[in-house]
Symmetry: none
Subunit: 80 residues, 2 copies
Amino acid sequence: MASRPPEADELLTPAEVAALFRVDPKTVTRWAKAGKLTSIRTLGGHRRYRAAEVRALLGDIPGPRAGEAAASEAGPALGA
Amino acid sequence: MASRPPEADELLTPAEVAALFRVDPKTVTRWAKAGKLTSIRTLGGHRRYRAAEVRALLGDIPGPRAGEAAASEAGPALGA
DNA sequence: ATTAATTTGGGTAATTTGGGCT
DNA sequence: AATGTCCAAATTACCCAAATTA
């Protein structure tokens, strides 16, 4: 893969999203198929995911501070 | 430092298209060779790509909430 | 602890993509 | 920075079994 220049932080690869969620890349693909996650397709058919959306779903932990309890079981948006 | 004049962005370089799709420039060249992406050749043989076409393929979502009902899995851009 | 449901992961085959080199 | 070719890794899609949840 290519490096991660801060400017290109717009899209994420399946492997990157999978690593962030601690799941298999195949599971991320399944979320995209189910419409739970927005996916952009490359011209070859591979998927790319919006970094902003993934961060939001992960709880969007900004930085060193502010690591408070962010409702662990309050948003079953994906577990339906 | 006007590296990329916004108004004159009719054409994009391979590196710019690659960054937008989160792929390698080599992959963009492959798309052009496969006829999946319109490419204009410079007199030196290098390729340039139409910004409008690239934006359309990416989904063209400019603002915060623009394409709300943008079906992610409705575009089989695959050419296999 | 039981069933029943969904979700997730593993396997294989085919294509696409990325890295190194020219 | 971009091109072209070779080869390995990643991703895709399909199947079915295991894990998780209610």
